[in-house]
């Protein structure tokens, strides 16, 4: 198939970027979206034009490194990561707009690459259970109720791609924070730090410049791992409890 691509180019964080138009022919429907960009980049290289920078690593939907706004949708039209989106979701003659994640807290590094260091810093602010190596008790000494463990797992599948932030009109990372709060809060091992965790992560969230949640729901619709909105309710509930407890 033949495509027209409108792609954001920006040399670095300090300069203004702009959309550029490219024509690409001979795209196979079996290509992944990123393989389509690989083909474009090979052609640009051959023509003497610098290839387009974009992030990807595992290309099997689990590392969370890739992420593009495709026609205004985070990761494109399917519920999956950009690397698992295939060209059979598009038609011959389509015009496709490709942009980086847009959010106050995710500055553009170059072209389609952004800096998501804010997500790491939120984890540093409490998104863990303190258990020094060697200090752990026998694993089966603390049973964990199966339904709670399953809920913990379901939200722990978050890949930290940032699609929720990019999709949110407020640029909020509430789904990301809620997923971590819920993952660790559903397990018995996560209880001692439950209050300090939510307070610490929310404070960092606001400090980074992420917006507040107004229950729009774009985050969960864009999430490639289908993290449900109820983690944000959980986040609010845990925060309320922590504040009541004097944090």
């Amino acid at each position: 198939m033949r495509l027209t691509l409108n792609i954001w180019r920006q040399a670095n964080a300090d300069v203004q970027g702009a959309m550029h138009r490219y024509e690409l022919d001979g795209v196979s429907e079996d290509m992944s979206f990123l393989e389509m960009l690989d083909v474009l980049n090979e052609q640009l290289n051959a023509k003497g034009e610098e290839p387009i920078a974009f992030d990807s690593d595992c290309r099997e939907g689990i590392c969370g490194m890739c992420g593009l706004m495709i026609n205004g949708m985070a990761h494109g039209p399917e519920v999956t990561t950009t690397c698992q989106l295939h060209m059979r979701s598009f038609n011959d003659g389509d015009e496709i707009t490709i942009e980086p994640w847009r959010a106050e807290a995710f500055p553009v590094v170059k072209d389609l690459c952004v800096d998501r260091g804010a997500l790491d810093r939120m984890i540093q602010s409490g998104g863990y259970i303190s258990a020094n190596t060697g200090s752990a008790p026998e694993a089966n000494s603390v049973p964990a109720a199966r339904d709670k463990a399953m809920r913990a797992f379901n939200v722990a599948t978050c890949i930290g791609c940032g699609a929720c932030v990019a999709a949110c009109p407020n640029g909020s990372a509430s789904l990301f924070v809620g997923a971590k709060i819920t993952h660790l809060g559903e397990l018995p091992q996560g209880q001692p730090e439950r209050d300090s965790r939510v307070v610490g992560m929310v404070a960092q969230h606001d400090h980074e410049g992420f917006g507040g949640c107004t229950n729009i729901g774009e985050c969960t619709a864009a999430c490639p791992k289908e993290i449900p909105m109820d983690v944000i309710s959980q986040l609010n509930k845990d925060l309320r409890t922590a504040l009541k407890n004097g944090h």
């Binding site: 389509m36 689990i62 984890i123 089966n140």
Partner: protein, 675 residues
Amino acid sequence: MASSDKDLSGLHPTNEPSVQKSDDAHGYYVPGDKIVDPVAPTGPIKDRWTQRKFDNRLVNPANRRKLSVIIVGTGLAGGAAAATLGEAGYQVKSFCYQDSPRRAHSIAAQGGINAAKNYKEDGDSIGRLFYDTVKGGDYRSRESNVYRLAEVSANIIDQCVAQGVPFARDYAGLLDNRSFGGVQVSRTFYARGQTGQQLLIGAYQAMERQVAAGTVEQFTRHEMLELIVADGKARGIVARDLVTGEIETHLADAVVLASGGYGNVFFLSTNAMGSNVTATWRAHRKGAYMANPCYTQIHPTCIPVSGDHQSKLTLMSESLRNDGRIWVPKKKEDCDKDPREIPEEDRDYYLERIYPSFGNLVPRDIASRQAKNMCDEGRGVGPKVGDFRRGVYLDFSDAIARLGEDGIREKYDNLFDMYERITGENPYEVPMRIYPAVHYVMGGLWVDYHLQSNIPGLFVAGEANFSDHGANRLGASALMQGLADGYFVLPNTIRDYLADAPFDKLDESHPAVAEARADVEGRVQKLVSINGTRSADSYHKELGNIMWEYCGMERTEEGLRKAIDMIRELKADFWSNLKVLGTADSLNQSLEKAGRVADFIELGELMCIDALNRRESCGGHFRAESQTEDGEALRHDDEFAYVAAWEWGGENGQPVLHKEDLIYTAIEMKQRSYK
């Protein structure tokens, strides 16, 4: 390396050192001195690690704050080591090329992690896990290391649960297990099909906690491009900030490489796009031995290549072989037909035919090789890539008839969805197509029992080292080894080295530091200024084709010689005709790729030389010249029961082969059979 005067009393070797009679690689290498592990433990195997932890010297907490360690890589081994050394109070600097430590490719592991917990009371034990792993490795691993791995496996599960890793649980809330290939007990802990992700997130969070505590400093989007060896010791790295292009020098008291495997030398593999050999190859060029580089694991159940645009391959869990039947058409002319229209009598269920007792469940290496054989005969299926169709059917129609579509959906739903997303075909209706793909490398930098390379102060952990899996790795063992090294082994061995502190003062004016930095700057400038006509990717693809064809599932003397010539030509062309656009002082992904491909090319040549020298078939290494009458792998313990540790021979020199004999005292060597 000097031989040690270790005490062998109390050990009764079950085998003699091997004596190599064949010399296929004559003219390609220089024979070197034999080596031994200078810190190999002695005494009864079950006491060795406990005794060693006691014997290793301590560093008191006040002194730890003055000592620094660089860790390259943030996967299970590197992330766990950074967290643990940070908790102990050392100053840790952690490097990764991705934008966050959580992206490391350990995250993609699906199946599970082995541990000798014996929660099922089904006869499992440390000894059993040890035995299975040595046998699975086809008797080419070091027994003391493997025993230690089995021993600490149970601690790993405790540690991960304490961190909040959401393993699968039963209705009583206790941990669940499943069984995995090659063993008869149920010892695999899992988190649905995302075990690697959950374990890595656990290690990542532990590491981020130390970042907050100030013991770990994290350098993302940084790539190590050189090892600094000053006065005989590893003392730092030269890294490039991938965003600004700045070349940076980082000094420390010790360096840990936990940079993963080099499967991407084949271009197409199940590795991440950025997975590379540069960190370990740079260390190799600085003197670190590369051990058994030819040992590659090729996984039989991956989604086949769909065209020349293919950038990577995706694994489908091995568990599918429990219910799927593998076949190809008997007649070549049926290969482009709809498989549902090919009658039963025209199908060749070749694994069931050749291996009646194991059938579709033969080990990975055998299933892979037979799939290649069928396709080489012209009976492959799916789209043609080049001259051949590269795929075989994995057919669930019998299982669907037996269990119903819902029964299959319950077991394999996410895998079937993933298959459909990638291929556009519904595997409930049409048989899946699968083909083998490079998945893991057992080879890596040579290390002693302390995970220290032959360069003092340089430690190597996880897939980047060579020691625990021999010539073949069992399923659910990679996660176990990465975390064992990072959480429990390395922190207990590196302290014995660091106890020698204080080390000599070192600053950027030291000639070794200045030289390493100048080398990197020169090399980066060279890569951007060749100004030829071909992209780094095009060289990478060509190298991958050579490696896959001649150093892949089946290797021959003739093919390997040809491959070495081709790689040498490719290398010359690369350095004269490469085209890298953009500048060196900004984010430049073409430049990053070019540097990695340059190192892959040199590694590829060494892999072929190693494969050429090893005229036997063992584990993932199959030499056509060494097979039984009915085409099965034939090991030669009398000649090759050794680790091949290669020393860099200089820019235009030949590599030097050092052999380390593999002497077994706790286990007897046997030949595998699956008929």
